[in-house]
């Protein structure tokens, strides 16, 4: 089976800034991959190179096994949805959707039929004759999605398509996009800086940093088994707690020895143990097996409550526990904490 999109050692520089530094990524047929990372990590540059709006300084871009590095944007058969709505203001919704077919010389009847079909698919029947300024932001992005899909592209590219929308519309539309992507089985690359969006929509999330791929994995794997400290801290909430590496690939934290996941530093090294708030058990103040801690802040989050805790040694961290267990743990309350025995990542002491 051919791979729809393959990035091989892609490199792109803007003056002295390295936007992409040897990016490798394979995207499987029908898969939705989210490119996630902080501003300036190169995710948008990678997407624009796939689209043909930027040219790589080095490396290869393969689509269905063919090198398309030098193929112009209009010959790549790629559908793209932009952050700003990007509909053509001089055309109606139907004309926008049919534009790709128009430039391909398709007959008027075929264009109309396809535009209607796509507008129905994105939930906008009856809006064919509306101009962009007569549509809301969410509706405009639906039309933009329909327009990108109308040409039956090999790959669909989404460049932060939800970031200009308000929270409620964003939530609805992201479910819609995922539904349509699964329904059509179209290979999709999605750029976002919103990790919740990436984790909830994508089959795999590619976390980027400084133009390089840190980890590309399924959302659950990314969250539970981050490959690097950067991924661990970028995705979700992570505590940094002081620990000491001991013999046998373990690290000592709060008097307990936890197996180290990934690279193990030399025995005796003072390190930071990366532990998620739900990786700590909070017990009663008289629990002899735990480490004594004091509640600084308790934030009710609905099903869970997040406690901001500190120990006598000066460690400050967060722990999540079911809200019904957090009753009585008000600021100033004493308790104990115990890390779960799961493998943990360690990083250089910050």
């Amino acid at each position: 089976m051919t791979v729809p999109v393959q990035l091989k050692q892609l490199r792109r520089e803007f003056g002295s800034t390295v936007a992409l530094d040897g990016l490798d990524l394979d995207i499987a047929p029908g898969e939705m991959v989210a490119l996630l990372g902080p501003s300036g990590c190169g995710k948008t540059t990678a997407l624009r190179i796939i689209a043909g709006f930027e040219t790589a300084d080095g490396g290869e871009l393969l689509m269905d096994g063919q090198d398309v590095t030098s193929v112009p944007a209009n010959r790549r058969d790629i559908g793209m949805v932009f952050q700003s709505y990007s509909l053509f203001p001089n055309m109606t919704a139907a004309e926008n959707v049919a534009y790709g077919l128009r430039v391909r010389g398709k007959a008027s009847a075929e264009r109309k039929e396809r535009a209607q079909e796509l507008l129905d698919l994105v939930g906008l029947p009856g809006r064919e004759g509306h101009y962009p300024h007569q549509l809301s932001g969410g509706q405009q992005q639906r039309v933009a999605l329909a327009r990108a899909l109308a040409i039956r592209p090999k790959v669909l590219l989404l460049d932060e398509p939800l970031s200009a929308l308000d929270a409620k519309v964003r939530l609805t539309l992201r479910e819609e996009i995922r539904r349509i992507q699964l329904e059509l089985g179209i290979t999709t690359v999605f750029v976002t800086h919103d990790q919740e969006e990436a984790l909830s929509m994508a089959d795999r999330v590619a976390v980027m940093k400084d133009g390089r791929l840190e980890q590309c994995a399924a959302p659950s794997e990314l969250y539970d088994r981050p490959a690097t400290p950067f991924v661990a801290e970028f995705v979700g909430t992570m505590n940094r707690l002081p620990g000491t590496v001991r013999d046998g690939g373990v690290v000592e934290l709060f008097g307990r020895r936890l197996p180290i996941h990934g690279e193990t530093p030399a025995t005796g090294s003072e390190v930071d143990v990366l532990l998620r708030p739900e990786g700590l058990a909070v017990g009663a103040a008289d629990d002899k097996s735990g480490t004594a801690a004091t509640v600084r802040v308790a934030t009710f989050l609905g099903a869970t409550t997040r406690l901001h805790l500190s120990t006598e040694s000066g460690a400050v961290f967060k722990a999540d526990l079911p809200s019904w267990e957090a009753t009585g743990l008000a600021p100033g309350a004493r308790c104990t904490v115990t890390p779960h025995d799961n493998p943990v990542l360690v990083a250089e002491r910050s």
């Binding site: 709006f53 944007a73 209009n74 053509f88 101009y131 809301s136």
Partner: protein
């Protein structure tokens, strides 16, 4: 305090607006009065009989043709240039702006002095293919040399208008969207960019046309006889007709402005009417 400010605003509006109106309307009114005022009363002869005066139609038609040709040349030059600068060479924007504004600071008499010098090379080029080009440029029926000079003189108007239009649209995204859908550069320019610059194109075109209809110095020095030159020529013998013709040219310019503005805004108004009240939120 707020009431005092508001009343001052109203007072200043009440003074400034009538003054501005008088500034424009009094000369026009006086000109109209001059063109119809006869010893024995009011007469519209200058408008009715005057239209058949020798040279009026020919010179007016020449001016209109020169104007249209200038608009076409100017737009063909400026639209792709400004789009290319906005998309690919934004650092050159200031340079292009300065170049386009140059005709405002170079007096037409200086411009035409240069043109005259270049045209005088014709005799030296008698044995070369360029000779025919010079002949074509000087063709009395349709002097292309005027179109070229007027195109240069219209650059400031076209630049200002198109630049404002380009800033009002998200050009890069529109172009990239069209390209990703398979459009060639020409298709993108013609089907996506130009329609969205319609108002700016129309504005620049009207200003250029008005400039050409009123331009006198270059045409006169080069010995051509468009409308403006004709009006000056007849003013001593037919003073009323000359003023009536000036009013006519004003009306033509206004009429064209109205027509182009209607055309530019027609589609959006039509769609707004059709869909009025249908905008939904989701």
């Amino acid at each position: 305090m707020a009431r005092m400010k508001s009343s001052m605003k109203l007072t200043s509006r009440g003074i400034v607006l009538p003054l501005a109106a008088l500034y424009f309307l009094v000369p026009i009114g006086a000109s109209i009065w001059f063109s119809i005022n006869e010893v024995d009363g009011v007469s519209f002869d200058a408008y009715t009989d005057g239209l058949g005066t020798e040279g009026l139609t020919t010179s007016l038609m020449l001016s209109v043709r020169l104007g249209l040709a200038t608009i076409i040349c100017g737009l063909l030059l400026m639209v792709p240039t400004l789009v290319a600068v906005a998309l690919y060479l934004p650092k050159l924007r200031r340079v292009v702006e300065i170049l386009c504004m140059m005709p405002l600071v170079v007096p037409p008499i200086a411009l035409v002095a240069g043109v005259t010098t270049v045209l005088s090379w014709e005799q030296d080029l008698a044995d070369t293919p360029l000779y025919m080009t010079f002949q074509a440029l000087r063709d009395e029926n349709f002097p292309l040399v005027l179109v070229l000079v007027y195109t240069v003189m219209s650059l400031p108007f076209l630049y200002r208008s198109l630049d404002a239009g380009l800033r009002a649209v998200d050009l890069r995204t529109l172009v990239e969207a069209a390209r990703s859908l398979g459009a060639s550069r020409l298709q993108t320019l013609w089907q996506v960019v130009v329609p969205n610059l319609r108002a700016a194109v129309m504005g620049g075109a009207v200003l250029s046309l008005a400039m050409v209809l009123g331009e006198y110095t270059v045409a006169s020095v080069l010995s051509y006889r468009p409308f403006s030159v004709w009006m000056v020529e007849i003013k001593d013998s037919e003073a009323q007709l000359s003023v009536a013709a000036a009013m006519l040219s004003l009306l033509i310019t206004w009429g064209l402005l109205l027509l182009l503005t209607t055309l530019a805004g027609g589609r959006s108004r039509k769609s707004s009417r059709r869909e009025n009240g249908k905008k939904t939120v989701s």
